[in-house]
Amino acid sequence: MNIQELSYDQAMMRVQEIVETLEKGEKGMDELTALVKEASELMKFCRKKLRMTEEEINQALQEDSEN
């Protein structure tokens, strides 16, 4: 899954889903770590994107497509 292609609403839904999964407490430590990492990255990206200029967004997307 490419974070940068997600809309804010999709990202929010995913984060919500992860937090709810974590709260159920059914995951082992390894899975938990991976989920926390994913949610953290999503949150970080969203908060950064809220403050990105259009050029920065385009640049980020371009860099991503080049990789």
Binding site: D9, V19, L32, T53
Partner: protein
């Protein structure tokens, strides 16, 4: 042939006829065709009556400057609009005829209530049509993203409202970035509806925006009729992205407001609404972050406890195992000790028993052998020839062979042993009588 008259005479006749035949004044319903304010303060206009696009009647009209100032101000105050073309009015008029300028209407008053009523009727008809065509709630059904970051703004670049909107968005205290593109439109007057429609369609065509914002310049002069336009309302309703309005008025909603996804009163209110969405989104993120942190903390704490418990269990288990092994060793040691004492005793007992058993067997064998020997001795004694001789039996041999094993014949010499004597004899005769022979 009728006598010819001069044009002046004719025009005088017309004027006299009109003066005598017409009422001094009329209340007339008409649409303003064209309205021009002259440099002298007078207003010159055309009054029309139309059916569709067809003009059924047309006449020039004038409002003298003094009247115009009063009537226009009253009209604007009541309707929120300036007198302008395409507007339907109820005017109090006097028909005048001038020999040079011809016939015209002198407007002495205009009833704003009629125009308001007409507009309300028109507006209601538009609303009814939009409802009938299912357009009224179409745009409201679209999902407005929580964070619409790419926004098309339809407005006039010089409008105060546009500037307010942009300033509020750009200088937000949270540092949020919204990317706006202006699609310029005329926001008032007869051209406004068409111009706005065109700008909205252009914005839609780029397919680059998440929302369209329709903001209007505020200001003193209110001119909202264009926002009740059916065609504009239809374009907004059919717009594939949410439309937000900030038309800047306090009175009843315009039709554009009614069909829009979200209606806000002013351009700054639209900016605040958008920023609120950003803020709410970020607050939700922070809340989720806190929830996640708390959950992870609890989980780690729980895992730590579980580990502690496991460690404790493991320690106890090892301790018990050690204890058990120790006990086993003790037992084994004890067993070895006790076994070695007891075992020796047992072996001794076994040996002694074996010894007894051997002794018994030995005695039995000796006894048996002795008995056998005694019997043998008896048998030997019984077989002794001397014993036979004693009882009167003798032994006879012919040429050293016992008689019963030889074939005696008459004349043979026999030796007979008696135990004490050996008797020599010669056989005279042999009877073949077995009994006799046997008896011998």
């Amino acid at each position: 042939m009728q006598e010819a008259i001069s044009l002046v005479t004719l025009n005088k006749i017309i004027r006299d006829t009109l003066n005598t035949q017409l009422e001094p004044s009329y209340w007339v319903i008409a649409e303003i065709g064209e309205l021009k304010a002259g440099p002298n303060g007078h207003a010159y206009l055309d009054l029309l009556e139309k059916e569709g696009n067809q003009t059924l009647a047309k006449i020039r009209g004038t409002i003298w400057s003094y009247t115009y100032r009063t009537v226009a101000a009253k009209f604007q105050q009541a309707t929120g609009q300036r007198l302008q073309a395409s507007m339907k009015i109820l005017a109090w008029v006097t028909v005048t005829f001038h020999e040079v300028y011809g016939i015209s209407l002198n407007i002495k008053d205009i009833d704003p209530a009629f125009t308001l009523g007409e507009r309300a009727k028109q507006r209601q008809a538009t609303i009814d049509r939009l409802l009938r065509e299912g357009l009224m709630d179409l745009n409201k059904q679209l999902a407005l993203p929580s964070v619409p970051q790419r926004i098309a703004v339809v407005s006039s670049p010089h409008a105060a409202g546009y500037e307010d909107f942009i300033n509020q968005l750009i200088n937000n205290s949270y540092g949020y970035r919204l990317h706006t593109t202006l699609f310029p439109a005329v926001m008032q007057g007869a051209e406004a509806a068409h111009s706005i429609r065109h700008a909205v369609q252009e914005a839609v065509q780029t397919q680059a925006f998440q929302a369209i914002v329709l903001v209007r310049g505020g200001g003193a002069a209110l001119d909202l009729e264009c926002f009740d336009d059916y065609e504009l309302a239809k374009v907004l309703a059919l717009c594939p992205i949410p439309v937000l309005t900030g038309i800047g008025h306090e009175r009843d909603e315009t039709v554009a407001d009614l069909v829009a996804h979200t209606k806000l009163k002013t351009p700054t209110a639209v900016a605040a609404f958008l920023l609120d969405g950003f803020l709410e989104f970020e607050e939700n993120l922070l809340m989720l972050h806190k929830r996640m942190e708390r959950t992870v903390f609890l989980h780690i704490q729980h895992q730590g406890k579980l580990l502690d418990q496991q460690e404790l269990r493991l320690r106890n288990h090892i301790r018990q195992e050690l204890k058990r092994s120790d006990q086993q060793l003790d037992q084994l040691q004890h067993s070895i000790k006790s076994w070695s004492g007891h075992g020796l005793k047992m072996e001794k007992h076994k040996i002694s028993e074996l010894k007894n058993s051997l002794q018994k067997s030995w005695n039995r064998i000796i006894d048996q052998e002795q008995k056998t020997l005694a019997q043998v001795a008896k048998d030997i004694a019984r077989l002794d020839p001397q014993e036979h001789f004693k009882r009167g039996y003798t032994r006879t041999e012919i040429k050293g062979i016992p008689l019963h094993q030889s074939k005696p014949s008459a004349g043979d010499q026999m030796q007979t042993f008696t135990g004490k004597q050996i008797i020599e004899s010669i056989i005279q005769k042999i009877d073949s009588d077995e009994h006799t022979g046997t008896k011998l």
